[in-house]
Each structure stands twice: as structure tokens, then as C-alpha cells.
């Protein structure tokens, strides 16, 4: 087992006791909730006449079902309206802070938590959403839970868990131009596989990770779950502390100094031991795209779509299924594949630095969205949206032909009106290319960085963004 890692330290500091099942009862520092996975948990509390143990450690927002075009109430979708009302009632009756659309702070739960300064190093953070791994970017242990566990956390602020192993993923070197955090994580998942992380927590480190700003670190930790790892983290450093300083829920004054001492103390020790170590050469990573139906089916943009019979036996069946669904041929390049939709959004890549880089590319190239392509930008939060508008980014997107939307999960999973139609192919900055994920069972998703989404939108085909730089 690992010793001296951030994971070991945070785990030990939050351990209440060992349960008869052998699991650990772990105290939860921060519980984030949203409208889709929480109503039933509150229902179960009511059934058993239980209260929320720590309302001040529980924060809510609405993201999955929220319309991004028209926010007038009641929502056009009756079931969305019902879920929204349930969240309003539940947060009011249990005295839980709700970042609702009128607060100016609503957005995707994994964008809002960090932005508000709620997400801090050394915390345990849970949410009924698999992408809770995002919060690991701050040196927190964040992981997704199911609805019965939401109930447990609401009632007790604790969770029963088995300790995982720790795999250190060292990314060396410096990223090339046109290569981003998203490319690093797509490369990692392509290399280690979508089930490679089962039973592990990933610790990301090395020069290429340390050089990233917080937004990039969040993109990487966000997709840990796509590699099978329930959590992933980066050790906190000056970049982390600079990001947090002055945010609404971050400590201040003497509490800030105490927090800094704690945050520094939970970093992995220099002589920490890991259950596994993987090294990846960051300078060799190209812009990545997926060619298939799992996030592990990714390749560098200059590579070719593989022939299924050249793959390990365990990957052949899903590769055949992928080629069939995506309508691709072995040996084909992904460059030049026509797109129908360009989606810039999601908890992976809808933060301010993602939008800035996308807008910078549009300005630099004076590009506009290609004929026949529907392109939309969905900011990760109202805060991101406001910031972008203050910087004039919305005008750049609009001029180029992008729709400029409100904050939410939107077309990442198509629970609101933003969905693919029929066989449409989407160049997407989101995290999952599962069949049906974006709202159409026949729809096709190609995952990539926001910059690559812009390149695809301009050309109408999948394009190596480096040719635009």
C-alpha cells in the first residue's frame, strides 16, 4: 500500500473508525448537490424522519436540466421544472445554500465549487456526480457517489468507503504549442485504458502538470473517472493558493495562514511510496481526438484510426463497434472528418481560460463558423459567463457565428433541449463519447480540447489546431 501520499494523509485525517464490513467511515468536508441525483435522497431522509447533519457543509446548484437559452419559469420542460422545484424546497427546508439562477453564481457544480472557494486542499469532497474527481485539482480527495450515499452523507456527513491504491502519473517535459491539459488526460486514458484506474486514485505530477494553471489541472482531474479512477489529484502549490486567495468561501486573515500550514502539510512527501508509477513524456503529446465510443479510444491528430485486429484481443470487439457507429475506416485520418456541431462547454472545459483561448484563436485567425455547422459556447457558470462578457469574449464568439448560452451541463449529456439530432457528429470539449450520450442514439461525439473545437468549427472538419497557429 501507498505511504506518505496526500491521499494517505487526507484519508487518515478524515477517518472516523473502521466499520464491521472492513470499510472506513470517512468524514466528508464538503457535500455538493444538484437537482438530478438529490431529490430521492431527500425523500429517503423524510421517510426515516432524518435531518441534514451539516447544512453548512452542503451547497446546491442546478446544472443538468437547466435550459441554457431561456431561463423563464416555469421551464418549458415540465419534468425539469419539477426537479428544480424539488431542489428549491429541499434546500429551503434544510437550510442549505442554493446557488440558484438568480444568485449570479449558478453553474455546473464542478465549476461553481472551485470558483466560490469552497473547494480547498486537504478536504474530502463528495457529490452525486461522477466528475467530482475534478476537485482533486486542489489537492482535495473528491469522488462521485450514488443517491443512497447522498442520503448517508446528508444524514451523517460520513461515508463508508474502501481505501484505494495510489498510482502516480508523472508527466515530464513541456507541452508543445496547441497542446493543452485536455490532450494530456486523453493521452493518459488512451494509454492506461478506461478500466486501467479501477481500484486506484491517480496522483498527477511532474513538470507538465505543475506548469498548468488551476483550470487545466481541473480538466485533467475531471476525467480521472473516464480512466476508471474514482478520484485524481494534484498536490497543492503556489498556483493553488493564488487561485484561492480572496475567493468568497476561502479563509482570510489569520485563518488563511492556518489554512496554508495545513495545505502544505498534506502534500505528498518526497519519500512517499506509490502502488504504481507511470511516466508519460509531455513534450511528445499531440492534440488528441477520440475516434470511438469510449474516452480511451483516442489518438494523436497525426495518427491513423487503428484496425481492430491489430489491437489487443480485449479491445477488438469494442473497436469494431466503434468504427461501425462512427462510420470510420481503419487507417483513416481523423483530420478532414466533417462535423455538424461544435460544442464548447461542460465541467471539463468551460472555464474562463478555455473560453479565452478559444476566443484568442478566433481573433487570431479571423475565422467564422463554417456553413452548415451549429456551434455553441456554454459557459460553465454564471460567474464564467460574466467574466467572459466583461472581457468582451461573448462578442468575439457571436461575431464568429457561435451561439452564446447560459450556464449548465447542456449538450454534454443532452438532458435539456441541447441535443444532437440523428447521425450528427459533434466536435466536443466534453468528457464522454458514449453512444447516445449527447441526446441522440445515433449521434457521434469526438472529444477534443476547446482549441480543437474552434479549429473544427472554422473548417467544418476535424482539423489540427496547430495549422492555425
Amino acid at each position: 500500500m501507498s505511504t506518505g501520499t496526500l491521499y494517505d494523509k487526507v484519508w487518515d485525517l478524515h477517518t472516523v473508525r473502521t466499520l464491521p464490513t472492513g470499510q472506513t467511515q470517512l468524514f466528508v468536508g464538503l457535500h455538493l448537490i444538484h437537482e438530478v441525483t438529490s431529490p430521492q435522497a431527500f425523500g429517503m431522509l423524510r421517510e426515516r424522519d432524518l435531518q441534514v447533519a451539516f447544512p453548512d457543509r452542503t451547497y446546491a446548484t442546478a446544472d443538468h436540466i437547466i435550459p441554457t437559452a431561456e431561463l423563464a419559469r416555469p421551464f418549458g420542460d415540465r419534468q425539469a421544472e419539477t426537479m428544480m422545484q424539488a431542489l428549491e424546497t429541499n434546500t429551503q427546508s434544510h437550510d442549505i445554500t442554493f446557488f440558484d439562477p438568480d444568485s449570479g453564481a449558478q453553474g455546473i457544480v464542478h465549476v461553481v465549487g472551485p470558483e466560490q472557494g469552497l473547494t480547498q486542499p486537504g478536504m474530502t469532497i463528495v457529490c452525486g456526480d461522477s466528475h467530482t474527481s475534478t476537485h482533486g485539482a486542489f489537492g482535495a480527495i473528491g469522488f462521485g457517489i450514488g443517491t443512497s450515499q447522498i442520503r448517508d452523507v446528508l444524514a451523517t456527513q460520513c461515508i463508508a468507503m474502501n481505501k484505494q491504491q495510489v498510482r502516480r502519473i508523472e508527466v515530464t517535459g513541456a507541452l508543445g504549442e496547441g497542446v493543452y491539459a485536455k490532450d494530456i488526460i486523453l493521452k493518459i486514458i488512451a494509454q492506461l485504458g478506461v478500466e486501467g484506474g479501477i481500484g486506484y486514485v491517480y496522483e498527477y505530477g511532474g513538470p507538465a502538470i505543475e506548469a498548468l494553471e488551476m483550470d487545466g489541472r481541473m480538466s485533467i482531474c475531471n476525467m480521472s473517472i473516464e480512466g476508471g479512477a474514482r478520484a485524481g489529484y494534484v498536490n497543492p502549490d503556489a498556483t493553488t493558493f493564488d487561485y484561492l486567495k480572496g475567493r468568497k468561501y476561502a479563509p482570510s486573515g489569520a485563518a488563511w495562514d492556518r489554512a496554508l500550514d495545513y495545505w502544505r502539510s498534506i502534500r505528498s512527501d518526497a519519500d512517499a511510496t506509490y502502488d504504481d508509477v507511470v511516466t508519460i513524456d509531455g513534450s511528445a503529446i499531440e492534440p488528441m481526438v477520440t475516434w470511438g465510443i469510449t474516452p480511451g479510444q483516442g489518438l494523436g491528430i497525426s495518427e491513423r484510426v487503428p484496425a481492430p485486429d491489430t489491437l489487443p484481443p480485449s479491445k477488438q470487439a469494442v473497436a469494431r463497434q466503434a468504427l461501425d457507429h462512427m462510420d470510420l475506416e481503419p487507417g483513416q485520418s481523423m483530420q478532414g472528418v466533417p462535423i455538424d456541431v461544435a460544442f464548447l462547454g461542460s465541467c471539463t472545459n468551460a472555464r474562463i481560460s478555455d473560453l479565452r483561448e478559444a476566443a484568442r484563436l478566433l481573433q487570431q485567425t479571423e475565422g467564422t463558423v463554417a456553413d452548415g455547422v451549429r456551434a455553441l459556447v456554454v459557459p460553465g457558470s454564471q460567474g464564467v459567463k460574466q467574466q467572459a462578457e466583461d472581457e468582451g469574449l461573448d462578442a468575439i464568439f457571436r461575431r464568429a457565428g457561435f451561439e452564446w448560452r447560459g450556464a449548465g451541463c447542456s449538450m454534454c449529456l443532452g438532458m435539456n433541449e441541447d441535443q444532437l439530432q440523428g447521425r450528427e457528429l459533434c466536435a466536443s470539449s466534453s468528457n464522454r463519447n458514449f453512444i447516445g450520450r449527447q441526446g441522440s442514439k445515433d449521434g457521434r461525439t469526438v472529444l477534443m480540447s476547446p482549441a480543437m473545437v474552434v479549429a473544427a468549427a472554422i473548417h467544418g472538419t476535424i482539423t489540427d489546431v496547430r495549422t492555425l497557429l
Binding site: T21, H64, Q79, A160, E195, I198
Partner: protein, 187 residues
């Protein structure tokens, strides 16, 4: 929950994500409302592409069109069953359809834990790749205590990994009832 199950088997492949088990469009049904809860059974496994729905031939609906329950008692799956979204509606939907056991080569962790914590179904792990050796529609007998799946149609027997302590949680009906039974929670 019954620890011996007999009935028909439904076979699926690797990396069955929770969007395939219950597509996001159906998450707006409220599981706490008994009438709406039925719809999870109706749409369980409905996100599978037709050719992957009931291997080896495909084209088999897990729940018949317009119905609320499935004729299948056991799902047999490949690796990484339940990957993707943390939605607990996934094991809930399978259970609502009347199916209370999955035998997979491996599970994504969140789905595995959800299956146990909510007491929805037995998430059993095979010791071998069995999706190529068993056909959708075969009659099977599952014994949780013996950790054994028998294909009564072909006569072949597959050994499974013992569930261990997780079995006690499922038997209690979920982790809260387990905790209460173990005296860890006040009544």
C-alpha cells in the same frame, strides 16, 4: 433478497456505461414516486445499440416494448460494467425491471458501490470471460452463497468470486438498514 435466482439470462458486452443502462432523458422521472418509478423498469438497458442488446445476436429488448418488467432474471456482462455517470438510477432501473443480479467480469467502482448500498441487486464478479460462452435467453441458475452460475441450457457451470461482506449489506436491503441492524444507528 433471494440468494438463489433462476430464470433467463441477458448478455451484454464490455464498458456498458450508465447512459446505456438508463439514458439521461429518463432521469427526470422521480424514483420516489411509485408511479414514475415504474418507468425505470420500462427503460432499463434501453440505451444499448440494437446489435449489442442481448448477445450474441442482438436485437433483443431487455424490457418488452410498452412493458414495465423484464423476462430476464440475470444480466451477464463483460468488463467495466456501469462505467460513466454516477447515477444510482442505473442499478435501480435494472432492479425495477425485476432483475436482481448482474454477473460481470469487472465493475466501475461507483456503480458497484451503488448496487450494494441501495440493496438493488447482487453485483457478482466472474472469474473468467463468460460472455462468449453463454447466450441471451439461456436458462440459468445463480447461487450467491455458492458463488456459482449454472447455464441449464448448455449444462456449463461458471465459478464466481464470493461477494464477502457486501452480501450482508444487500441482504439487509441497503447500507442504512445494515447499519441499523448492526446497532450502529439508533432506530
Amino acid at each position: 433478497m433471494e440468494k438463489t435466482i433462476r430464470g433467463k439470462v441477458f448478455v451484454v458486452g464490455d464498458n456498458i456505461d450508465t447512459d446505456q443502462i438508463i439514458p439521461a432523458e429518463f432521469l427526470s422521472y422521480n424514483p420516489a414516486d411509485p408511479d414514475e418509478r415504474n418507468y425505470f423498469g420500462m427503460h432499463a438497458m434501453s440505451g444499448l445499440p440494437s446489435d449489442q442488446s442481448g448477445l450474441p445476436d442482438g436485437g433483443v429488448a431487455f424490457t418488452p416494448e410498452g412493458g414495465f418488467t423484464s423476462e430476464f432474471a440475470v444480466i451477464v456482462a463483460g468488463r467495466n460494467f456501469g462505467c460513466g455517470s454516477s447515477r444510482e438510477h442505473a442499478p435501480l432501473a435494472i432492479a425495477e425491471a425485476g432483475c436482481h443480479a448482474v454477473v460481470a467480469e469487472s465493475y466501475a467502482r461507483i456503480c458497484y458501490r451503488n448496487s450494494i448500498n441501495g440493496g438493488y441487486l447482487w453485483p457478482l464478479e466472474a472469474t473468467d470471460r463468460i460472455i462468449d460462452k453463454i447466450r441471451t435467453g439461456d436458462e440459468v441458475a445463480l447461487d450467491v452463497d455458492e458463488a456459482e452460475l449454472r447455464d441449464l441450457t448448455t449444462g456449463e457451470t461458471f465459478s464466481l468470486k464470493p461477494l464477502g461482506d457486501a452480501a450482508d449489506i444487500i441482504e439487509a436491503g441497503g447500507v442504512l438498514d445494515y447499519a441499523r441492524r448492526a446497532g450502529m444507528l439508533a432506530d
